[in-house]
């Protein structure tokens, strides 16, 4: 549904996005993950047609974003980082305007449908200016959904929301993907990706540094840190001999980091118990990969 090939965006002397490649299948929920300034928002803005790219190609629903931007915009809904709300309008008036400029088939019906879907019934007649942050975010999502797009781009949809509101938005995203809507959402909240996404694309410094299914990323026990009281000389080789272990790397006196392709906690514990096992910790691979790939060089 979405195909991004070697996408590059250069602002003056700084490159915000440098050669991003990824694809998203129909009905899939993909999380764009990365620190602030990694290029997530820029990538989304390019896909949404709000920004041109310096080079590269982007297809949405088989339509080239640069050749036929209008065609793409018809099938795409976009929630920017700051919801684009006209605060001097009521929720219903605003959504009607959005439905009209986005060419929803039956604007009035589309607005009532989306109000129900996003849970805005109680505030539909109120001025957007007077709404809380959570409701504003929902109005922003409603605006992106009103023309029933096939592809939905959500830039940090849960930022600044309380936990209950976050859960609601996650549920909405799951519902949408069940209904064949393709969703790309950006975030820097890892549990969120694990909760709603099928796949994660980690972006850092304008490049895709890792991408995989969330199951693969979220598998527990693939990276294990170990600390023992009396490390014997044979311990590293014993650890390496465990089936599935692919690497053992010392991180300090009596401490190792063990990488494996499956959950090896039990075997590691058994191998280390005679050396005075003090600590055995399993890491979520996603967090691990994320921190390893992005640590220490967040904001450019």
């Amino acid at each position: 549904m979405i195909q991004v090939e070697n996408l590059t965006k250069v602002y003056g002397a700084t490159a915000a996005v440098r050669g991003v490649d990824f694809t998203v299948a129909k009905g899939e929920v993909v999380g764009l993950l990365g620190p602030n300034g990694a290029g997530k928002s820029t990538t989304m803005r390019i896909l949404a047609g709000a920004l041109g790219a310096t080079s590269g190609r982007a297809l949405v629903g088989g339509v080239d974003v640069f050749q036929d931007p209008r065609g793409v915009k018809r099938i795409l809904g976009y929630l920017p980082e700051v919801p684009p709300l006209y605060t001097d309008m009521t929720v219903r008036e605003y959504l009607r305007f959005a439905a009209r400029v986005k060419r929803a088939a039956d604007p009035r019906a589309a607005v009532e449908r989306v109000i129900g879907r996003v849970g805005l019934q109680k505030v539909a007649h109120r001025l957007i200016d007077n709404l809380s942050k959570g409701y504003r975010q929902r109005v922003g999502i409603a605006q992106a959904l009103v023309h029933e797009p096939q592809v939905l781009l959500l830039d940090e949809p849960t930022s600044g929301l309380d936990p209950a509101q976050r859960v609601e938005i996650r549920e909405l995203v799951r519902e949408l993907s069940a209904g064949e809507t393709t969703v790309v959402l950006s975030t820097h909240v890892l549990p969120e990706v694990e909760a709603v996404c099928d796949r994660a694309v980690i972006v850092h410094d304008g490049r895709v540094v890792a991408q995989d299914t969330v199951e693969a990323f979220a598998a527990v026990g693939r990276t294990v840190t170990l600390r023992v009281a009396r490390p014997g000389d044979a311990l590293p080789s014993r650890l390496l001999a465990i089936p599935g272990v692919v690497g053992v790397e010392p991180t300090g006196p009596g401490a190792w980091r063990i990488a494996a392709d499956r959950d090896v906690r039990e075997q590691v514990a058994r191998a280390a118990v005679d050396d005075g096992l003090l600590e055995l910790a399993a890491h979520r691979a996603l967090e691990d990969v994320y921190l390893r790939l992005t640590r220490g060089e967040g904001e450019p």
């Binding site: 709000a50 700051v82 001097d88 009209r100 400029v101 986005k102």
Partner: protein
């Protein structure tokens, strides 16, 4: 269709913010003062010519009331129109609402036209609010309707031109005050620029607004004058369009 939706939202937005109403009040106050002063002057002049049959023949409503009134009122537009145009794009940039339009299946040209026509609708309402002046004149006397129509054509042409200039100014900044000051300075320069010329037919004079308003205020519509105003509107809207297009490529 999209142009119409954007224009309607724009006109609505002007009326739902205090700025729109304040501008309208200011406009009516100042045009009201001008009207009362013009009528007062006309009355004084007619008293002067009561015993002068030659003078009385020369005194008429169009030359001594209608024309001076609309001519003076054009200067009010220099202040009023930039106040209407300042928010057109600046506010969209500030509130980050431009993204909604830019990611909707609407071309940038449609956005520009929609904004322009929406604001123009407000200006038309403002002009319509002054219609009671000529209506009272029609009730009490026999004014030349051509001069009145010419007066409104002059006000409208000038508003349309200044609005396009103001729209362009607001497409360069997210700060409404900056948009206001730039639009005001440009409008005033266009208005008084002709004063630099050596004579009324000098090319510099033809660049200014005033030389193109004179004949209209007399009730004579000349194609060259209409082309002049349409030219300002066209060039400004085109520049605004290109300015928005450049956004995508910066």
């Amino acid at each position: 269709m999209s142009v119409l939706h954007i224009a309607m939202r724009e006109a609505r937005a002007i009326f739902t913010t205090p700025v729109g109403w304040l501008v309208l009040c200011g406009w009516l106050l100042v045009t009201g003062i001008f009207w009362v002063a013009s009528v007062g002057m006309y009355v004084a002049e007619s008293q002067n010519v009561v015993f002068n049959p030659y003078g009385a023949a020369l005194l008429n409503l169009q030359d001594h009331l209608v024309m001076p009134f609309y001519g003076n009122t054009t200067v009010v537009l220099v202040f009023v129109v930039p106040a209407v145009s300042m928010r057109l794009f600046s506010e969209e940039f500030k509130q980050r609402t431009m993204e909604l339009l830019l990611t909707s299946p609407v071309s940038t040209l449609e956005i520009v036209l929609g904004k322009y026509l929406g604001a123009l609708a407000f200006v038309l309402v403002a002009l319509a609010c002054t219609l009671h002046f000529p209506l009272t004149l029609e009730y009490w006397g026999e004014p030349d309707l051509g001069a009145i129509a010419g007066g409104y054509l002059a006000l409208f042409s000038m508003s349309a031109a200044l609005l396009a200039v103001g729209l362009l100014a607001s497409s360069f900044t997210s700060n409404q005050i900056v948009a206001l000051v730039v639009a005001f300075a440009a409008s005033l320069a266009l208005y008084v620029g002709g004063w630099l010329a050596d004579g009324p037919d000098h090319w510099i004079a033809r660049l200014g607004l005033l030389s193109h308003l004179e004949d209209m205020l007399r009730g004579a519509v000349r194609l060259s004058d209409l082309v002049y105003f349409a030219g300002i509107v066209g060039v400004s809207l085109f520049a605004t369009w290109q300015r928005l297009e450049s956004f995508r490529w910066r």
